[in-house]
């Protein structure tokens, strides 16, 4: 079975810490940081990066469209 790995990049300064991506993620990858960005929001970050499957669910529901998603098939690299 092909193993898929994903990763997200959050535009930290534009994130509003709404938390909608956190509940949309099927793999519990995302959490809100304890630190805040320049606007005072607890921004989203990959708390559990190894679990990301690159499904883009988080990015699709983000009202501010600040998440970019990357995905690789790791088997191709074995």
């Amino acid at each position: 079975m092909a193993k898929v790995r994903g990763a997200i990049v959050v535009d930290v300064e534009k994130c509003k810490g709404c938390g909608l991506c956190v509940v949309a993620c099927p793999s519990k990858v995302i959490d809100l940081a304890k630190e805040v960005n320049g606007k005072g929001y607890n921004y989203a970050y990959m708390a559990n990066p190894d679990a990301c499957i690159g499904c883009a669910n988080c990015a699709i529901v983000c009202p501010d469209t600040v998440i970019t998603v990357y995905k690789v098939n790791t088997e191709a690299n074995v």
């Binding site: 709404c18 938390g19 998440i67 970019t68 990357y70």
Partner: protein
């Protein structure tokens, strides 16, 4: 495999469409307006109709929608977006004209305009953001506020005796022969956003086919007005709004 080996241009699977500008949206964190703006921008981008699309922005929280989607826009007086869209469509029949309206805008002050534009079958798309409240002005009751819903003007909840019944305007619109496609969608989960995107795509395709008015209600949240967190607002919407405003197609001709 290290995260930095995954984050490479060739592995990109989802990013912001170029049609969304780099302006930071003024909406509250978690507001549904942002989700619908994103989907609209993606559809216009993917259909390759950026140069042919003209939006009509409303009065309400989305009054500044023109700052966020890189197309031509007009700003309408409160509730009058369908009248302005009618004029634009008749002057430029080959453009893709849409209105973007809240429930206060469309179902209260603009009831006459929307009913008649839909009844005339104007060849436009209507995006109707129903968050059951006047978001911009401080969360007052709207015609669409559901029974027992607390708002700033009905702090103990909307009551029939005092406030009348909530208005299911989409059900009325679906009766009008000028409409070709009438649907109610939402945008609170990845699956809902994907369905919303299909619906908006179909609506814009209908304009290309000159089929008449396509009307898309998006059952939405106004977490600030509802005084809930964004996540809790979505839960409240599913529990309380969806039974009264069920998701699905009314008409697809």
């Amino acid at each position: 495999m290290d995260v930095k080996d995954i984050i490479k241009e060739e592995n990109l699977v989802y990013g912001k469409t170029k049609l969304l500008t780099d302006n930071i949206m003024h909406y509250c964190p978690g507001c549904t307006h942002g989700v619908v703006h994103k989907v609209l921008a993606e559809v216009i981008d993917e259909m390759g109709i950026q140069e042919k699309t003209i939006g009509v922005a409303p009065v309400g929280c989305s009054v500044l929608a023109y700052n966020y989607i890189d197309i031509d826009w007009h700003e309408a007086a409160h509730g009058r977006a369908p009248a302005l869209a009618t004029a634009i469509n008749r002057l430029y029949p080959d453009k893709y004209v849409f209105t973007y309206q809240g429930d206060g805008d469309l179902a209260s002050i603009g009831t006459a305009e929307i009913i008649h534009a839909c009844n005339r079958g104007e060849n436009i798309v209507v995006i109707f953001i129903n968050n059951g409240i006047y978001g911009m002005t401080g969360g007052q009751m709207a015609p669409t506020s559901i029974l027992d819903m607390p708002t700033s003007t009905t702090p103990y909840g909307r009551k029939v005796e005092l406030n009348g019944y909530p208005l299911k305007i989409t059900d009325l619109i679906a009766q009008l022969p000028g409409t070709c496609y009438v649907t109610r969608q939402s945008g609170h989960t990845p699956a809902a956003v994907r369905k919303l995107k299909k619906a908006i795509t179909k609506a814009f395709e209908n304009v290309g086919k000159k089929k008449g008015t396509s009307f898309i209600e998006v059952v939405s949240t106004c977490n600030s007005g509802w005084k809930l967190s964004p996540v809790k607002a979505n839960e409240w919407m599913v529990e309380h709004m969806f039974p009264f405003y069920p998701i699905g197609d009314f008409k697809d001709e």
